[in-house]
Symmetry: C2
Subunit: 439 residues, 2 copies
């Protein structure tokens, strides 16, 4: 179900109201606790609701997932594969179980409260785990990871630094949601430590390359969407079908070894400069939870080709933030505040383009947005841009300086949508840099 932006609905669950994980949100993730197997849950307030337990208790009777327990799984893929009607049926049921009172959806339809869970302390004890007690895992088996390059500000910054400030965008950029295939095996859940990679690099003034620890380790603040239903190979997905094929969104940190990338990437693109790790947030926010925050995308000029013309407001007003904390700092410092609404190419255009040649998507695929940079230096989504190729180092409160990441640094991305009476938050995706292994 879709709440309106004016929704005043509340939940009876501790800590839910006013939090990132409100009744209007209900993000999905995979967790374990106390040595349990992995299972699917929904975060609300300070609790994770174990959907596999609710399913076992018969609480999804009458919904499209009443049959097989798709939540007693180590990944969301099976649920993602079902499509939007199943997701909506489950969401409506969860709202009924978790809301404090009956409420209206955006279409005016009433969702009656079901007090089964609220009134059953025994079931709550089994099904509602304190958020602080769970271990979160990667939300899906990511079969295919694609990373786009869809922020005009970011592409312009990079083009200005490395090509021509007076003509920074390549000619294809305004016609194509440029992207490339990333490495799916090294997509990890937020909280995973990141080992500084080794690799081959060549200084501009050196005769030959050398091999050693990356010296220019960077972040990329991104979001990503997870795919829902599969399509058959050879069958493009039209924009009108996007709601069945896009399950939801999460935060993505596309860790980047700039020195490795620079030496290797011509002519076939980024490879080992990116493939050592990509972090995703543990909680995936559904498109229906994000619906109140849809906004128009930036004007696309020149006009895009007809296959990329997508009706509707497919931008999203999501506030994004990057925090950096060195090993010496007591608390993190915010180094970027930006918004997903700046993205030039929308997630639907990305999906339509990606499949326009017949490529098949699989449930649980991850499609990264590319670095989200805004119009001003404090809204740039990578250290490369924030420190402008190392020419404007960040001053940390400890007196330290940063042009790129140092060992021991922790980077945390967070994101939240703000309505008048509620928030829909993504939580965070964090990672701490560990020293390189001997190489």
């Amino acid at each position: 179900m879709i709440f309106s932006k004016d929704s005043k609905a509340t939940s009876w669950v501790e800590g839910a109201n006013g939090s990132d994980f409100s009744i209007q949100n209900l993000p999905y993730g995979v967790f374990s606790h106390g040595g349990s197997s992995r299972r699917v849950g929904v975060a609300i307030g300070q609790r994770v609701v174990d959907l596999s337990v609710l399913h076992g208790a018969g609480l999804f009777a009458g919904t499209p997932v009443a049959g097989e327990n798709v939540f007693a799984c180590d990944a969301l893929n099976d649920f993602m594969a079902l499509g939007v009607d199943a997701w909506r049926g489950v969401r409506r049921r969860l709202v009924a179980l978790l809301a404090a009172e009956s409420s209206n959806d955006a279409a005016g339809k009433v969702v009656e409260v079901d007090s089964t869970l609220r009134d059953d302390a025994g079931l709550q004890a089994k099904a509602m785990v304190p958020l602080g007690d769970v271990t979160t895992h990667i939300p899906s088996h990511v079969g295919n990871f694609v990373d786009f390059y869809s922020s005009k500000e970011h592409a312009t910054n990079i083009g200005s630094m490395f090509r021509d400030p007076s003509n920074p965008l390549l000619p294809n950029w305004v016609h194509i949601p440029i992207g490339y295939n990333g490495r799916s095996s090294s997509v990890v859940v937020g909280g995973t430590d990141i080992v500084r990679p080794c690799g081959q690099t060549k200084a501009d003034d050196a005769d030959a390359p050398t091999f050693g620890p990356c010296r220019l380790l960077d972040i990329e603040l991104e979001m990503g969407f997870f795919t829902g239903k599969a399509n058959a190979l050879g069958t493009p997905i039209p924009a009108s079908n996007a709601p069945d094929h896009i399950f939801g969104m999460g935060l993505v940190n596309d860790w980047s070894a700039r020195d490795i990338q620079k030496w290797e990437y011509v002519p076939l693109g980024p490879f080992l400069g990116k493939s050592f790790a990509t972090s995703v947030s543990p909680w995936v926010v559904s498109l229906d939870a994000l619906a109140p925050f849809r906004v128009d995308q930036p004007v696309q000029e020149p006009d895009v080709l007809p296959y990329l013309r997508v009706d509707g407001d497919w931008g999203f007003d999501i506030n994004l933030q990057v925090d950096l904390k060195s090993a010496k700092m007591n608390e993190a410092m915010t180094i970027c505040r930006t918004n997903f609404k700046y993205m030039y190419w929308t997630i639907v255009q990305q999906l339509v383009h990606q499949t326009s040649n017949g490529t098949n998507v699989a449930p649980g695929d991850l499609y990264g947005s590319g670095t989200v940079s805004g119009p001003t230096p404090d809204s740039y989504g990578s250290l490369m841009e924030i420190c402008w190729k190392g020419t404007k180092p960040l001053k940390l409160p400890t007196g330290e300086e940063r042009k790129f990441l140092a060992d021991g640094d922790t980077v945390t991305l967070s994101g939240v949508c703000n309505a008048h009476n509620f928030k829909v938050g993504f939580g965070e995706v964090a990672g701490t840099i560990l020293p390189a292994r001997a190489c």
Copy 2:
């Protein structure tokens, strides 16, 4: 077990001796027949041996796969994950069951014949299916597909055509096995028809791009290796461990839409120009079967960095061939004869480089070699090179001309290693071009 190149071992199975699928070969694949589920088999002569049936009959007792039936699977991944000791134990057992007489391995160790299968007509009826009756499937779930660019002749040809004939190789090429992440979801088994993709292209003299069917559809003759054991994220694989991590090799046709690729690929590399389909051969030849055909790789000059210095002869003497048959032709015409021994970068260097930044490989990953081109025009592995950017069209016996592929064309890649008394063949990987869908 490893046969020497002088092996005279024979098999009692019909059609095996002198064929691609000899007792010295025993390639693995996944097949179904008569409505059965998918299972793992080995091709020999005109038969496929159903390993799941042999396992069920207890014939792998005493081998490392005696426990769970890893052959009653729809993919080779579980078997691939076990590592080289398990693969060798199974290979030795299969040789014992399928050889006509006891034989010596390359180390002089005797492999005694076991006549259990040969003498049991009932078991043969269940376990040995005519090759012509089976449906072959993709050998593994390909979690990650990487495509390298490891032929110096190919890279030189492309650089000569599109950059500078006097300086065709980019500076990094002789230092790095250049590669990129490909699309794993669209890796298909040989025999699958290929729908001509649609996509965005721009003519050099046009003001704006257009969207429509690819006009410059090409092949790339490649081989690929499938990975065995996984490594942990953050832990590079040293060359000495390669035998545990490389299961075997197959033929790969990396279908390429040159016009889509040309417009999209700067700066992040090939994307939709490649992702619509990649074909692999149904039969995977193990590294032990290929061992008699190992040869020195070409001299690498300048010296590679220490992490890429790999001892041993990791080139392979594999004769490769491309056949083209238009819809009007009665029989196919050979348009390329080349050899895998020309490859500048070896599969072990590719694996070591790929994991040098800590990237984790998974069992069943596919690593394509890049186009295999030899030194002469009749040994080039793509139409782009054979027809030199369309300037030297192929004349077909029907009077037709080809610069790139036309609808109805069938392309077949094949590969074989020749010893004095036996062959180790890869069979073939074929694909027929279907017209584009309305786009």
